[in-house]
């Protein structure tokens, strides 16, 4: 693997919380692990870990802003826990190039499903799961925490119309 430049190394550091932790402990080892160019090593060693963490947090806040728009019910249900849970997930999940906010929201839902399933909005999780699947259609029975005038159960139906086009229909089930 050819040596990498400082900007590529900074990009990796800003997207990988574990790498930032390692830099704080031993910057020289991280420079070697990244195979950073010799001429850029001094600049990397001079980085202040707390500054780097703050800069990374700014990026995570931006990601969270996008994700919150895609899974608003889940974030509402998590309340004040939404940001720390997202931060804990995102600190170790970089967004790959050509990826999207929807993919990030999908991966966050997978993480929540493992660690905090009660906070997940089923309908949002199903939607993202279908969006990134190859399925032609899907049918889910969802339970909701409804307002008093709403039905507590619904059938959520997805139908794929093309590679990136699909329809969603929800049928509310009266008890």
């Amino acid at each position: 693997m050819p040596p990498i430049d400082f900007i590529s190394a900074l990009g990796q550091l800003l997207s990988d919380g574990a790498l930032r932790d390692a830099l704080a402990a031993d910057p020289g080892a991280v420079a070697a692990r990244l195979n950073l160019r010799e001429s850029d090593r001094a600049a990397l060693v001079q980085l202040v870990p707390a500054d780097l963490e703050f800069q990374a947090d700014i990026l995570l806040r931006k990601r969270f802003g996008l994700v919150r728009r895609i899974i608003p019910e889940t974030c509402r249900s998590l309340g004040a826990e939404a940001w720390p849970l997202f931060r804990a997930y995102a600190r170790h999940h970089a967004v790959a190039r050509e990826s999207s906010g929807a993919r990030d929201a999908h991966d966050f839902c997978l993480d929540l499903h493992q660690h905090r399933p009660a906070g997940l909005c089923q309908a949002e999780r199903n939607r993202l799961h279908f969006a990134f699947s190859q399925s032609r259609f899907a049918l889910h029975l969802i339970r909701r925490r409804p307002a008093p005038w709403q039905c507590p159960r619904a059938l959520q139906f997805f139908l794929r119309l093309g590679r990136r086009r699909w329809r969603e229909m929800t049928f509310y089930v009266r008890a």
Binding site: L14, Q55, A94, R97
Partner: protein
């Protein structure tokens, strides 16, 4: 000097009413990548337009992303702006997409890279380009000071500077330097346009959430910039917590007063 604001969907209704004091609009190219460019010629009838980019990532080593550049150029063609702008920053690398602006070190190597990318964008779009300073919580060092880097970058790229007054203020507070001394080191003729908005605080850090009204100390710095340089436009750059139209009109009026005082 023209006074205006960043065009945002949330403000579209108010902007359509042709609010007093607003002579120009800055269009964020990425907001029109997936449609809506048909609105731009209409807006251009009432306002001077500028097109501003967020994601061309001038600091990323290697070629500019061709798809992003073409999408940017489509917006430029629709808006036909006086000039275009981008940030002196990187938002992605070959491996990761960081989704937002990050600082580049002030080195001669990076200067060459950013200048080459800026020239390429300007040539592709057929418009003059100006480059913007960003906030950074990481202090990067290189073989040039930040101000020498900016002056030389403008010379090498044959471009102007979009000086974000709020970013300068924030960096000066977070990194403990004198913004006026910084300003005096910038060649005045390079400063073409300003961005301004209120800063936010997160603990002992200053941040640019674009969600606050302009504070007096930021206005004071803007006055100093306008006294120092032949600024052609000043843009209020509000992105969140949009206030009532009357509040925005007051902010625009304050910017108008800066213009009137010079």
């Amino acid at each position: 000097m023209q006074v205006g604001l960043g065009y945002r969907r949330e403000l579209a209704g108010w902007i359509a009413s042709r609010p007093p004091g607003v002579g120009c609009l800055e269009i964020t190219a990425e907001h029109f990548f997936h449609g809506g460019t048909d609105r731009l010629p209409e807006l251009a009838k009432d306002f001077n337009l500028f097109v501003h980019g967020l994601g061309l990532s001038l600091g990323t080593p290697g070629p500019i992303d061709a798809k992003t550049l073409e999408a940017f150029a489509r917006v430029v063609r629709a808006a036909n702006p006086e000039w275009i702008s981008e940030h002196i920053a990187f938002t992605r690398t070959a491996a990761v997409d960081l989704g937002h602006l990050n600082p580049v070190p002030p080195t001669r190597e990076v200067l060459g890279l950013v200048a080459e990318h800026a020239r390429e964008i300007s040539a592709h779009c057929g418009k003059p380009i100006i480059l913007e300073n960003i906030t950074s919580h990481v202090r990067l060092t290189g073989d040039l000071s930040e101000t020498d880097f900016l002056n030389e970058l403008c010379a090498r790229a044959d471009c102007g500077l979009l000086l974000d007054v709020t970013n300068l203020f924030i960096n000066s507070r977070n990194h403990a330097f004198d913004p006026l001394a910084w300003l005096r080191e910038i060649e005045p003729r390079r400063i073409v346009q300003l961005h301004i908005v209120g800063y936010s605080r997160a603990g002992d850090r200053y941040t640019d959430s674009h969600a606050q009204p302009i504070q007096e100390e930021v206005l004071e710095l803007a006055r100093a910039v306008v006294a120092h340089a032949p600024v052609q436009a000043i843009i209020l750059e509000r992105d969140e917590d949009f206030p009532a139209p009357a509040e925005l009109e007051k902010e625009i009026a304050k910017l108008g007063q800066i213009r009137a005082s010079h």
